[in-house]
């Protein structure tokens, strides 16, 4: 996530100080990605150094106010105009875990898949509930948050569909080789307890 560009985009709106920027950012993204205030100040220092913002001095109440420069505006425009780069391919802990699980002996892949499916479903239930509650008493500021929630819902749904596909493939493989034990055998290596599912806390 580009904090640098996010802060610049918010400054394009109007001059702001560090704490205001944090509040604005979190408000528009439903606090899904909380910002550390220290991170905000370091980023503002670097933007100032690079000539993308200018330090307007104090507002008389101890806040240092920043405004965007022409170079900064150009930078924001470039950011919005450029599609998000996909790190190639994005590192996906779940895919890595399953790729290793299917290639190592003694791993109960079916159990790993089910443990993950349950954890992902729980997250999907919570996102769906949040979406319903937000949509039911929608304020103007909630539009951005609803979009973020939709994105989380689609990502989690894709994860579950992919898990279903993995399971179906494993079953096909097992049936083709006539060795159902490969999938169904009680684990003697990695167990479900050891295979911690990705949760909303550690999924990013």
């Amino acid at each position: 996530m580009s904090i640098r560009h996010s802060l610049l985009a918010l400054l394009q709106d109007q001059p702001r100080y560090g704490y205001q920027l944090r509040v604005e950012f979190e408000d528009r993204t439903g606090s899904t990605w909380p910002l550390n205030i220290g991170q905000v100040y370091t980023t503002l220092d670097r933007l100032d150094r690079d000539g993308l913002v200018s330090n307007d001095g104090g507002d008389g109440e101890g806040h240092v106010v920043y405004s965007i420069t022409e170079a900064g505006r150009a930078e924001v425009q470039g950011w919005f105009a450029t599609p998000v780069e996909r790190s190639n391919p994005p590192r996906n802990e779940l895919a890595i875990k399953l790729a290793l699980a299917v290639t190592l002996p003694g791993v109960d892949v079916a159990a790993i898949i089910q443990a993950q499916r349950t954890a992902s479903m729980r997250a999907l239930q919570d996102y769906t509930k949040s979406r319903r509650d937000t949509a039911a008493n929608q304020r103007a500021a909630d539009t951005a948050w609803l979009l973020v929630l939709d994105s989380l819902i689609f990502q989690t749904e894709a994860e579950i569909r992919w898990l279903d596909l993995c399971e179906a493939r494993m079953l096909q493989l097992a049936q083709a080789s006539g060795a159902r034990s490969h999938v169904r055998k009680p684990s003697n290596g990695v167990t479900v307890e050891e295979a911690t599912p990705l949760t909303a806390e550690n999924r990013r």
Partner: protein, 244 residues
């Protein structure tokens, strides 16, 4: 309402269902225990052939278990004769079929009012309730339309209206979003959710995670057995993640 806790509307106790006999017998369900309480929305997820539709058919009294018991509002279905079973299904159970099962020569309102009229509700009252159910699924203006003049999505809504009419206590739905685009599918989930919030017990069979996520509890079924379940935490903290 019981004071000891939630009221069970549907209970499946050690339910097994086997098709065929001897060496060719296929077990569709193996000793499944499942309860759905008043006000609860349960989704059953599983791949095709996992037994999820068999489970729903048993819950709705459309099929009888090979062993085990099915109870609707504490009434054992096994003890009911055909007439009593049909009456229970008309009064307490709403069932949304995958292929709608609507009467093509009747209008939308007549289809929805049919179970009420069969149960002796006067025609005008039944019609009023039918139009109200059609309003809940968003198509009150199509009340007088015949089935073959309606799109697949509209027919599906009529099928759902027929399942919820007359405040049924148990609503069972088998892939009710199959024929619908995603916006309409969302609308169907809103209807099922609001019936549960109004106190009905709702059980949905689906392979769509997005729809199952509307439920309070998602039950996963594999090879005729319940292998796991996910219960929503409704914990706002789950939405928070550390900054990068």
């Amino acid at each position: 309402m019981s004071v000891q806790g939630p009221q069970q509307v549907l209970e499946l106790a050690k339910v097994s269902r086997t098709f065929g006999q001897g060496a060719t017998a296929v077990a569709a369900l193996r000793e499944v225990d499942l309860t759905v309480n008043a006000g609860e929305f349960v989704a059953v997820m599983g791949p095709s052939g996992s037994g999820k539709s068999s489970l729903l058919a048993l819950a709705g009294g459309l099929d009888r278990p090979t062993s085990g018991g099915v109870f609707v509002e504490s009434t054992p279905m096994a003890g009911l004769g055909l007439n009593a079973l049909a009456r229970l299904r008309r009064r307490a159970v709403g069932y949304v079929f995958q292929d709608f099962n609507l009467v093509p020569t009747l209008s939308a309102a007549e289809n929805v009012a049919l179970p009420l009229e069969l149960d002796g509700v006067p025609a005008r009252k039944a019609h009023r309730q039918a139009v109200d159910a059609l309003r809940q699924v968003g198509i009150p203006e199509l009340a007088h339309r015949l089935m073959d003049e309606m799109s697949g999505g509209q027919q599906q809504r009529v099928a759902i209206a027929r399942a919820i009419v007359g405040n049924r206590r148990l609503i069972l739905a088998d892939e009710p979003t199959g024929a619908l685009d995603s916006t309409t599918g969302h609308g169907v989930m809103e209807v099922l959710r609001s019936r549960a919030d109004a106190g009905a017990a709702v059980m949905l069979v689906t392979h769509e995670a997005r729809h199952a996520a509307w439920a309070d509890r998602v039950v996963f079924i594999r090879d005729g057995r319940i292998v796991d379940e996910a219960t929503a935490m409704h914990d706002p903290a789950v939405l928070l993640a550390p900054a990068d």
